[in-house]
């Protein structure tokens, strides 16, 4: 990966730019969204959940003697099921993402990987389980992070995440250039939109894709060399193109808004920190 001797280093650096204390404060204040995440069912957490009549098979040490004494039945004290929240991060990794114009520092894939890993680090530091959708179980061990990093850098042909089970209220980040038709995007994410409100679209675009800086007679090809379009003078279509890409951006943002997800546009010629701070602060504001 040119310009990236070590994706991890870059991601660590980015992560360190965000003040830990503030993050902790945000986490503490909104713990329902972050950190210890109540599952709203009986479980092995510390917090009380409900009393329930003793049934055979219950552990005797779970009997709440004070409550049982109030009546003639034996109650056990059930605690809320506590489990660390899951954070799923998906990034588009097909050939489209390899695009890198002259003005930008990284290819879209690099940018997506850095953002994804940074988010993974932040979340794993919060004790959450981090994982790539549909690639086994999420975790927060160093090994899991390395696996995750590996996955981010691998190429994958699909342009939308394949079907996976989204844990309820999980954090979900979708990092992509979202150049597909809006219908496809909606179809791919609408199910997840219902499952969690903690989702976010991170729209990674190359400046060239936003501004169309080309001039003169140009044959535009897709990244697979399969389709092409000859434009006799690129300057003349710049305006039209700008309208179209803006419409696409707006559509994707509206989709995110529809599910209560956050939306961030990242240009590959801007620093990652800005994008991540925006993302993080937006999260804090909720």
């Amino acid at each position: 990966m040119p310009g990236f001797p070590n994706l991890r280093t870059e991601a660590e650096r980015t992560a360190s730019q965000i003040p830990d204390i503030k993050r902790l404060a945000v986490r503490t204040a909104y713990h329902i969204l972050h950190g210890n995440n109540p599952q709203r069912r009986a479980g092995s957490g510390d917090a009380f959940w409900q009393f329930r009549e003793y049934q055979p098979g219950d552990m005797p040490r779970d009997i709440d003697w004070r409550q049982s004494a109030k009546t003639d039945r034996v109650f056990i004290r059930q605690k809320e099921q506590h489990s660390a929240q899951t954070c799923l991060i998906w990034a588009k990794r097909n050939t489209d993402m390899r695009f890198q114009s002259e003005g930008s520092q990284y290819s879209k894939q690099d940018a997506a990987a850095v953002i994804g890993l940074t988010l993974a680090l932040l979340h794993s530091r919060m004790g959450e389980l981090v994982g790539f959708p549909a690639t086994g179980r999420a975790g927060h061990s160093e090994k899991k992070l390395q696996e995750f990093e590996q996955t981010l850098m691998e190429a994958a042909p699909e342009s939308m995440p394949s079907a996976f089970q989204m844990p309820k209220h999980a954090h979900f980040y979708a990092i992509s250039d979202f150049l597909e038709p809006p219908a496809e995007i909606e179809a791919a994410f609408s199910g997840h939109g219902a499952r969690t409100q903690n989702g976010a679209f991170i729209h990674v675009l190359d400046p060239a894709e936003i501004e169309l800086p080309y001039e003169g007679r140009i044959l535009f090809e897709d990244m697979y060399g399969q389709k092409s379009q000859l434009v006799s003078n690129a300057v003349d279509i710049r305006q039209d193109y700008a309208e179209r890409i803006q419409a696409q951006i707006d559509t994707v943002r509206d989709l995110a808004m529809k599910w209560g997800w956050r939306y961030v546009l990242h240009r590959t010629d801007t620093p990652f920190e800005d994008t991540l701070k925006t993302l993080w602060l937006a999260e804090a504001r909720i």
């Binding site: 489209d96 993402m97 695009f99 879209k108 250039d177 150049l179 038709p181 190359d206 060239a208 894709e209 080309y214 001039e215 003169g216 007679r217 140009i218 044959l219 535009f220 090809e221 897709d222 990244m223 060399g225 389709k227 092409s228 379009q229 000859l230 434009v231 006799s232 003078n233 300057v235 003349d236 279509i237 039209d240 193109y241 179209r244 890409i245 696409q248």
Partner: protein
């Protein structure tokens, strides 16, 4: 242009067939628009259906088509391997013997012969053939060409380069023997002229397994100048040449002493047959200066013809009253003497005192018997100091009170009149001259009759060296001319009149020849005694190219008795031979009976010599194609940027470029106008060499010098002018810079005349060989026609070294070349040398400086000490040309003295 294409050949002509495919290429290119730039773009979906509103042409513009077609054509031509002036080398097998003609007739085409032989040597070396190289003319007497040992390529090449043409005949008989002894292929680089034993050589060649003969084209064959009999007044020379077709005129030049061009005429050859006669018509004042003829543009001793040298110009004083001479013209002695001598000497006439005052080298006393005693004494002293006194007899000398002083022999008091009414004798004829007479060699006319004579009182030739001698006798044995040395001088007595009164002598050509010969003894009276019996010693001899040189040890003298029977040979090369005052020219042309081309008679296949070196055109074509490619790329870069916007400006650019190119290609038109301002201001001038590089350097250098003069001195040149000596008026320029370049053509006669005029009337030319040495072959070629006074190495105290700055040396780009100037004593031009000759490339050094202008002041940058010194030389030079010897006075004396003290 025709000549260019005539010399063009394609080594791989089949590639030219591909040119037929060009129309197909045209169609192909026409329908293919310029290649678009390919960009991979992920958001292609969003681009779909977007198209610019403006229409763009779908065809490639015609001028791009033309460009590309041209490019393709150039590449195809390059593939066909075009060469200019293709090499001519004969394919041979086995051993090869190269015969190189180097007789007199080879000089004309020597470069061609050498080049062809060189090519053949290289080819033989490529084919690993054993080669031998043999010259057909022996360099030394007693040796004959013999079959040489085989040599290597480098040996053969160095041997070839060491071979020079000789001004005598080749020895074809020995060559034929050598060829007979050789087994292999023989290639003869012939000079195209049929020599003695030509057939023997051809027979020998035809017996060989293979042979080839090269010969120059018939128009390039050598010509020879010859003269069976001399000419009396107007110079005349015969041209001998091969009979085969030549239709361009032959230009014959008439040269004076030191090679000054006197006249040049064109002799028509079309429809004429050799020998042709070139007759000149020149003013009588020039006639006495004629010293040689040469064929313009020809090389070799055969193309030059020298006349017998009469010695330098003499001044002659005739003692006679000018008034008398005018009134009694045709009976007056001095009239005949003047007419005879004026073409050859500066003649003055007057009383003895007047004559003595101008110190002539010869004084003639025609028919003067008595003189005042003091006049006699001063005349005697003058003779003692080396004067030549020539006396003629006449009626006045028979007076009773005549004096016998200052005659070779005492004279009898009365005249001998053989034709008088009382005489029964017939007028006497002149006895043929004997070889021991200093006058030997003069063609006598047996029509001359002498009827009157004053006889000496005693007979001459007593054997004593200091005694009087008889130089010419009449048929009865009485002396006609006697002579006697007196101290350093010489007394010559002609015992008859200088007018036709007593003899026909004064009416014949013998009179002139006799006077001329006698004049050669002026100042060298000893010459009459030295070695005039035996032989003529070589003085200056010609090499094969006709250049005069000092004779080597091997050159033998000519025997006077049989002088007309010699043919040039290693022992006796053509040139000047002298005995005493008699300097005789021995010309090659006189021994050439006729020139026959070998092509005219034999049915040999003759290969022509290449005109010049083969030039491979592939690099040029490829370079041109490459430049077109770059232009095409630039155009495409422009086009793909914005096709519609660039179209009109590009057309403009093209036209601007075209106009610019036209302008640069025809700079001569712009330069042709003569400046009208040159007379108003001071301009520095230089002579155009025709080499743009050198001319630019010179111009730049002079501009820097002119800036330096403006900055530092009160000489403020207004600018720099290039001059063409043929067309421009030179008189405006105080100094002209002449960079010598091998690319400059020899100045035309008109240019030489112009330059000579400039030099003769106060102009100064700085000649710069630009080679760090004052020697240069081109110098001789370019300035050969100019009459330049003798030059000397610049003396230390020359005014040039202190005309403005004090200089020790005169560096330019080089430092060590000597500077040569005219001897100051010999000129009357205020001490300014007409020619300053050096080789330090001053203009080159000056041009390395840059003049910048800041706040309306000029500064020079980039100076090193050498640059500074070279600029100082330039300043001095201009000051010197402008002020002459002005600075030889006392201005610097205190400083100089001060320096001397230190």
């Amino acid at each position: 242009m025709n000549g260019f294409f005539a010399n063009l050949a394609f080594l791989n002509p089949t590639a030219l067939l591909a040119l037929l495919a060009l129309p197909a290429l045209y169609l192909l290119l026409r329908v293919t628009p310029p290649t678009p730039k390919v960009v991979a773009f992920p958001a292609l979906r969003l681009l779909e259906g977007l198209q610019p509103k403006q229409n763009t042409p779908s065809h490639t513009p015609w001028w791009i088509l033309l460009l590309r077609m041209l490019m393709a054509a150039l590449l195809l031509l390059a593939l066909a391997r075009p060469v200019l002036n293709p090499l001519e080398a004969t394919e041979t097998r086995g051993d090869v013997l190269l015969l190189v003609d180097n007789g007199w007739s080879a000089a004309q085409n020597w470069d061609d012969i050498q080049t062809a032989a060189e090519n053949q040597i290289k080819q033989a070396a490529r084919n690993n053939q054993q080669m031998r190289i043999m010259a057909t003319t022996s360099a030394e007497a007693g040796t004959a060409p013999a079959l040489p040992e085989p040599s290597t390529e480098s040996d053969a090449l160095s041997e070839l380069r060491a071979t020079k043409p000789h001004p005598w005949k080749p020895d074809l008989e020995s060559v034929a023997e050598a060829v007979d002894a050789f087994d292999g292929t023989v290639i003869w680089f012939s000079d195209g002229v049929r020599h003695l034993k030509h057939n023997a050589l051809i027979d020998a060649l035809e017996n060989k397994s293979g042979f080839a003969v090269y010969a120059p084209a018939s128009v390039d064959l050598p010509l020879a100048l010859k003269s069976d009999e001399g000419f009396s007044t107007q110079p005349e020379i015969e041209i001998e040449g091969p009979s085969t077709g030549r239709d361009t005129p032959i230009r014959v030049q008439l040269l004076g002493e030191r090679g000054t061009l006197l006249d040049e005429i064109a002799v028509e050859t079309a429809g004429e047959s050799f020998p042709l006669t070139a007759s000149f018509d020149i003013p009588s004042s020039l006639q006495n200066r004629v010293s040689s003829f040469q064929i313009s543009g020809a090389r070799g001793a055969n193309a030059k013809y020298f006349l017998d040298n009469v010695g330098g110009p003499k001044s002659v004083g005739i003692v006679s009253s000018a008034e008398i001479a005018q009134t009694r013209q045709f009976t007056e002695d001095s009239f005949y003497l003047r007419k005879a001598l004026e073409p050859y000497a500066s003649v003055s006439q007057g009383s003895l005192d007047d004559i003595l005052a101008i110190e002539p080298s010869v004084i003639i006393l025609p028919d003067i018997g008595t003189m005042p005693q003091d006049a006699l004494n001063s005349l005697s002293t003058w003779v003692d100091e080396g004067g030549l006194l020539l006396r003629f007899a006449g009626p006045n000398m028979t007076q009773s009170n005549r004096q016998n002083a200052l005659t070779p022999l005492p004279l009898r008091p009365e005249a001998r009149n053989v034709e008088g009414s009382l005489s029964w004798d017939k007028p006497l004829k002149i006895e043929p001259l004997t070889p021991d007479s200093p006058l030997y060699g003069i063609g006598l006319d047996d029509q001359i009759e002498v009827s009157g004579q004053i006889l000496p009182a005693v007979s001459a030739d007593t054997g004593d060296e200091n005694a009087a001698q008889s130089w010419m006798l009449l048929e009865d044995g009485t002396p006609l001319i006697t002579a006697k040395q007196q101290e350093q001088g010489l007394l010559v007595m002609v015992h008859t009149t200088a007018s036709p009164l007593w003899s026909d002598l004064a009416l014949s050509g013998v009179y002139v020849d006799m006077l001329k010969r006698i004049m050669t003894f002026a100042g060298q009276s000893n010459a009459i005694n030295t070695n005039r019996v035996g032989s003529l010693q070589p003085v200056r001899i010609m090499d094969g190219f006709g250049t005069l040189q000092s004779p080597g040890q091997k050159v033998k003298p000519l025997d006077l008795a049989t002088v007309d029977e010699y043919a040039p040979s290693p022992d006796h090369p053509p040139g000047f031979y002298a005995a005493g005052g008699l300097q005789q020219a021995f010309n090659l042309g006189d021994s050439i009976p006729e020139i026959k081309a070998i092509a005219s008679e034999s049915n040999l296949t003759l290969h022509p010599y290449g005109q010049s070196y083969e030039t491979d055109l592939i690099p040029n074509l490829l370079a041109a194609a490459f430049i077109l490619l770059i232009i095409d790329a630039l155009i495409m870069a422009f086009l793909s940027r914005n096709f519609a916007r660039i179209k009109i400006p590009f057309a403009k650019t093209v036209s601007v470029f075209a106009v610019f190119a036209l302008l640069t290609l025809s700079p001569m038109k712009a330069a042709a106008q003569q400046n009208a301002d040159a007379s108003k201001d001071l301009y520095l001038a230089y002579i155009q060499t025709g080499n743009a590089d050198i001319d630019n350097t010179t111009r730049k250098g002079l501009e820097v010098l002119s800036a330096a003069l403006n900055i530092r001195t009160s000489a403020e040149p207004a600018g720099v002018q290039s001059v063409n000596p043929e067309t421009d008026v030179l008189a405006f320029y105080p100094i002209i810079y002449w960079p010598i370049s091998s690319s400059q053509e020899r100045p035309s006669a008109e240019a030489i005349r112009n330059l000579q005029d400039y030099l003769d009337h106060g102009g100064t030319i700085l000649v710069d060989t630009r080679q760090g040495s004052a020697r240069s072959e081109d110098l001789q070629r370019l300035m050969g026609g100019l009459n330049i006074p003798p030059l000397q190495e610049i003396p230390e105290d020359h005014v040039l070294s202190r005309a403005f700055y004090l200089l020790d040396n005169y560096p330019g780009r080089f430092e060590n070349a000597k500077l040569w100037v005219e001897n100051q004593n010999t000129n009357d031009r205020d001490g300014v040398s007409s020619v300053i000759l050096g080789g330090n490339d001053w203009a080159g050094a000056w041009s390395e400086l840059t003049v910048i202008e800041r706040n309306n002041r000029q500064y020079m940058t980039g100076k090193s000490e050498r640059h500074e010194m070279s600029i100082r030389f330039g300043v001095n030079l201009v000051m010197y040309a402008l002020t002459g010897n002005y600075k030889t006075d006392q201005v610097h004396v205190p400083h100089i003295l001060e320096r001397l003290d230190q």
